[in-house]
Symmetry: C2
Subunit: 324 residues, 2 copies
């Protein structure tokens, strides 16, 4: 498959709606930014066999690649806008794989209102490595940051935590005691993150900080603590679990480490002053998305996990994903 | 080596000058764009063993990665501004390699006035794959495009062509008849592109089109022809060669294919109306950079190569790099 033919047939249609993409025919793309607005830009890399399974369908890989980046935009409170691809593909490149990949992008472009505007593709003798640069925009001063938590802030999390890590375990043949239906639900959460882009935009003015849960709940809360110069206490019983995750943990309590440290959740973890409680509960209803308070920001630099009766529990040995 | 420690120690200093980088501690970077200005954004991927040699010094790899992207900005007439990295590194990641890589970036940040603002790093069992997203800016309407050549435009090229492809050949043990000094000069051109960022910015208002020569002289001229819906005639004797390239081709005329189709030159190829000749010659003197007219844009869709007496020569079998 010829690179330029692939770009023209599969990728150029994904760029058709954005004049600044220049039909993917130029050296670079042009982006204009409205006055009072700032661009938000993020770049993630996912690798076959590390961040997804080599046999995962190409369309799901494409959607995961896009969504993990949209999740970063969500954590900044940004509106998604456009993206660039950087693909290093295992040789030989299969046309059907490329078609599936482009179809996945097309589907999610529709869902999230983003457009391809540029990138680069190459093929080589090695595992597929995919990078994506996502652009969003946010009004000046309305961005959500990590370093602005205050003592007494409640710690909130969207959706449910741990499904993706448990889903990966299921895809690798684990969770034998769970039902097929449960394993399928969890696997789906591994394959297809739900970036909380609506929530992120609505949190501006309510939340003090936000981060997306990608490295692991405790690791990402650790990032908020480190950047804000604070500590935190999390009530382990308050962490929201889906029904399949709840069942899996009830059958094997060691799986709670997957929940706390597994990562790949792509939910938003954020802190907000207590007087935002009512507004956040209304927001949860309006988005039809669970928002759950799980702890509190404190002075000091310690991250503590508390049992039902307030007794400190040991932290898992691995608190989150490290990439090296 | 821990990922977060590497970011803090080696990469955060590269981001210190740009507040929007948020110290590389947040989910994304913030970029403001001045009124009347548009952002120019490009993304290239380079792979160990494909775009550089696995044993090349890390600092040179870093600088090449940055420079090939700056060359794309140059071809749009943009001022370089900032960049994001996406690194998939062969495990285990050596600390000295990372230090060399960061040192190379630091050196070129200084030279080109750019700042690191974000990115992602991962390590895995495979060849190192490096992607970079470069941001520049250009005044509205002043960008250089590929598709706006006119019949009768002269075709110009900066610097000399073919050095990089011949340098790669020398690094692989070829060019045995050339002197050590010649091989070293050519190898240096392979290792370290000179993106023509000053030239690109000065061409706005003079040139009708521009592209950087990365795929190969004929292939990239072919991109201008295809996008502009025109043909071109190039006088083969007019193509500017460095002294070492001239010697190599004189010793082995088959090496002329490397010049025409080898690529990786990162010179600017541009077209301009004949009445810009004097201004372009003055620009060449002011930048101390050779600008050489090599041909003319014509009606039709054919790319022709002409010998000294105007006789058509055969095109090389391979007119340029294809990535798949």
């Amino acid at each position: 498959m010829n690179e330029f033919a692939a770009i023209a047939r599969l990728f150029a249609p994904l760029a058709a709606a954005e004049p600044g993409a220049l039909g993917l025919l130029d050296d670079a793309a042009l982006v204009t930014v409205a006055p009072g607005t700032q661009l938000v830009i993020t770049k993630d890399v996912i690798v076959s066999g590390v961040h997804y399974l080599p046999d995962d369908p190409a369309s799901l890989i494409a959607r995961k690649l896009l969504r993990v980046n949209l999740s970063d935009l969500a954590a900044m409170g940004a509106r998604p806008r456009a993206y660039l691809l950087g693909l290093a593909l295992t040789k030989p490149v299969s046309e059907s794989w490329m078609e599936g990949f482009a179809a996945g992008l097309a589907e999610d472009q529709e869902s999230f209102g983003v457009t391809l505007i540029g990138g680069d593709t190459t093929a080589y003798d090695g595992p597929t490595v995919l990078s994506l640069t996502a652009l969003g925009e946010v009004d000046l001063g309305r961005e959500l940051r990590r370093g602005s938590a205050a003592v007494g802030d409640r710690i909130w999390v969207s959706g449910t935590i741990g499904d993706s890590a448990l889903g990966l375990r299921a895809l690798r043949g684990g969770l034998a005691s769970s039902s097929d239906a449960d394993r399928a639900i969890l696997a789906d959460r591994y394959h297809l993150p739900r970036p909380r882009v609506d929530l992120g935009q609505r949190l501006a003015g309510m939340a003090h900080t936000a981060i997306d849960v990608s490295d692991g709940l405790l690791a990402d809360l650790g990032h908020i603590c480190a950047t804000s110069g604070l500590g935190a206490a999390v009530r382990i019983q308050a962490i929201p679990l889906s029904a399949p995750a709840h069942t899996a943990v009830a059958l094997d309590s060691a799986l709670m480490d997957d929940v706390l440290a597994g990562g790949d959740d792509y939910e938003l973890l954020f802190t907000a002053p207590a007087d935002a409680d009512v507004e956040l509960q209304a927001l949860s209803r309006s988005l039809d998305l669970a928002l759950t308070p799980i702890g509190i920001m404190q002075a000091g630099r310690t991250l503590r996990l508390l049992d039902r009766d307030g007794t400190p529990c040991p932290l898992p040995k691995r608190t989150g994903w490290t990439h090296f």
